[in-house]
């Protein structure tokens, strides 16, 4: 049976619009709840907007999570920088010098990237305790640099593979060393790929929970995700505050996705080892 093009489009849009509503519903409900008074969250329908926007839950939530939010920033930025630095150097090399040894190295890095973190959790706490930095911001930075540098390497390698080799071969004929040509010729061209890598690594660290909850040995150094989990665990926190706190915790990734979506998507594809075109 043939359906007309117009009918097909109506069906397509209906499916997409209905799913869009349902997919956005948790965000909408969270926002609406976060703007209601404690009393209103119990007396009004959850889907109904508040009678008047009440920003007190946001102030209470910020009071509860601000230290953790700042901790997450203090940890995520240096760790992201170290991962991207390691990953860019190694990813470039692996994309340019294809040998048996490098293929083996690529394979070992890929395994290390995708194995579940549970197998690394106990040894990591042993390592951080032995070095004597357990319970400090540095412990998170070291842990995330070790955990996510392999992925940063693979994502960078995907982007470098898409850049033609002739570029730096020309530079080297002119007498530049590989290190010089990497910094002067390749890096500027690779900038979009490096932005994608940075976004993916930053968001992974920001959103990570298994190590975050384990390394947050005291409330002083607790990062944002365990803090939200902790808010949820405390019965004294009302739904409106919990939703405001949750929205604060996802603000950075949401802003990045809305502002730099194209880079995020390219990074996701490269990170899945799909290759970059």
């Amino acid at each position: 049976m043939m359906i007309s093009f117009k009918t097909k489009m109506i069906i397509a849009y209906t499916v997409l619009v209905l799913l869009t509503f349902f997919w956005m519903l948790p965000f909408y409900v969270a926002l609406v709840t976060s703007l209601k008074s404690h009393e209103e969250t119990y007396t009004t329908n959850v889907l109904q907007p508040p009678s008047a926007a009440n920003i007190i839950p946001w102030f209470i939530a910020w009071g509860r999570v601000s230290r953790a939010f700042i901790n997450s920033i203090l940890v995520s930025i240096p760790a992201t920088f170290l991962c991207v630095l390691t990953g860019t150097l190694a990813g470039y090399y692996l994309s340019r010098f294809v040998s048996k040894v490098n293929r083996l190295l690529f394979f070992l890095i890929a395994i290390a990237t995708f194995i579940p973190y549970q197998i690394l959790l106990i040894p990591m706490t042993m390592f951080l305790s032995t070095v004597g930095i357990m319970g400090t911001h540095l412990s998170f930075i070291v842990a995330y640099t070790i955990l996510l540098s392999p992925w940063a390497t693979l994502i960078s390698a995907a982007f470098f593979l898409a850049i033609p080799k002739e570029l730096e071969e020309a530079a080297q004929i002119d007498g530049a060393s590989p290190v010089q040509s990497f910094f002067k010729i390749v890096l500027p061209v690779a900038l979009p790929g490096i932005i994608s890598t940075t976004i993916i690594i930053f968001m992974s660290i920001w959103n990570e929970f298994l190590f975050a909850v384990t390394l947050s040995t005291s409330p002083i150094i607790r990062t944002i995700q365990p803090e939200v989990a902790n808010l949820r665990g405390t019965t004294t926190v009302a739904w409106n505050t919990l939703m405001a706190g949750s929205l604060i915790a996802i603000l950075p990734p949401l802003v990045i996705t809305l502002a730099l979506g194209k880079y995020f998507i390219r990074g996701l594809l490269a990170g899945a080892l799909k290759g970059v075109r």
């Binding site: 397509a12 948790p26 150097l89 690529f106 070992l108 106990i122 590989p178 929970f209 739904w239 075109r277």
Partner: protein, 288 residues
């Protein structure tokens, strides 16, 4: 070819070599700890052979968690990849990908901890899900979704579908755009219906999309932890217990480090069955 001296090699590779060596030493350490007697705050690494595994295999909680992981993988991986493909196909055919893609990506961008928190509220007795059901005169379907043992697991699995659908959409959108348009045009000229084109041309042409999405989705469900921690702590009873949560609770609440390491080693062993073929395929695709 570009010359490279040992010194230059080291500048590029030394950091990742160091980190890779550390990671593999950590894996070996975990496996060793799983055969030790470390069961307190104080570290103790006397070798006890397979004792911890034997005890684990006689613990009913292990089988409950394993069963939930298997259900999670199946009911998460199959709908997410299939729905992702269908949605990507519909999106591409409307030509309005940008807006819809962003909609599905937002849940993918946020942490699973917050996703779990938002959905705990969605699933509450007076939450949005039950409110919507009542609005559509389906009150008989309302229930406390995550405190009812018969629905808790499926309710959490749905949240992970909600989160990862955007990821699947992205993978399949890229795969669909890689299809030679003349294939589809030829079928249209032959008068094939959209459904036929989808089954006979699109699905086989995007099989490399499945090769990317399916293993990664399976791994995500295998290591699942965050949402169980924040939403149910494995409960009610053992209804939503999974290996990842069982491992963490054993090692870091109970301080049975060796037993936790044994569970971690089992998760690791299962994951290798997915990760090794995945890495080999990616290697071949990249360096052909």
């Amino acid at each position: 070819m570009i010359a490279s001296s040992l010194k230059e090699k080291l500048i590029f590779l030394a950091p990742i070599l160091l980190i890779t060596v550390i990671l593999y030493i950590m894996i070996a350490t975990s496996i060793y700890v799983s055969m030790s007697d470390w069961r307190s705050y104080k570290i103790s690494l006397n070798f006890v052979g397979l004792r911890n595994y034997i005890e684990l295999f006689s613990n009913p909680r292990f089988y409950a968690a394993l069963r939930n992981n298997i259900i999670w993988i199946a009911l998460f991986m199959i709908p997410t990849s299939f729905l992702g493909l269908v949605l990507a196909y519909i999106m591409v055919s409307t030509g309005k990908e940008l807006i819809f893609r962003t909609v599905f990506l937002l849940p993918t961008a946020i942490s699973m901890t917050v996703a779990g928190t938002l959905w705990v509220w969605m699933y509450a007795s007076e939450g949005a899900v039950n409110t919507l059901l009542k609005a559509f005169n389906l009150s008989f379907l309302t229930k406390p979704w995550i405190s009812d043992p018969s629905t808790a697991l499926y309710a959490l699995i749905f949240v992970t579908i909600w989160q990862y659908l955007g990821f699947a959409v992205i993978i399949f959108e890229a795969a669909i755009k890689g299809i030679d348009p003349s294939l589809i045009e030829a079928a249209q000229i032959d008068g094939a219906s959209s459904l036929r084109i989808f089954w006979d041309i699109v699905v086989p042409q995007v099989r490399h999309g499945f090769l990317v999405a399916v293993p990664l989705l399976a791994l995500s469900a295998l290591k699942i932890f965050d949402i169980v921690y924040v939403a149910t702590r494995g409960g009610p009873g053992l209804a939503t217990d999974v290996l990842g949560y069982f491992m963490w609770e054993t090692a870091f609440w109970g301080r049975f480090m060796a037993d936790g390491a044994a569970i971690a080693t089992i998760i690791f062993a299962i994951s290798l069955g997915i990760v090794i073929p995945y890495a080999l395929i990616a290697l071949r695709r990249w360096f052909r």
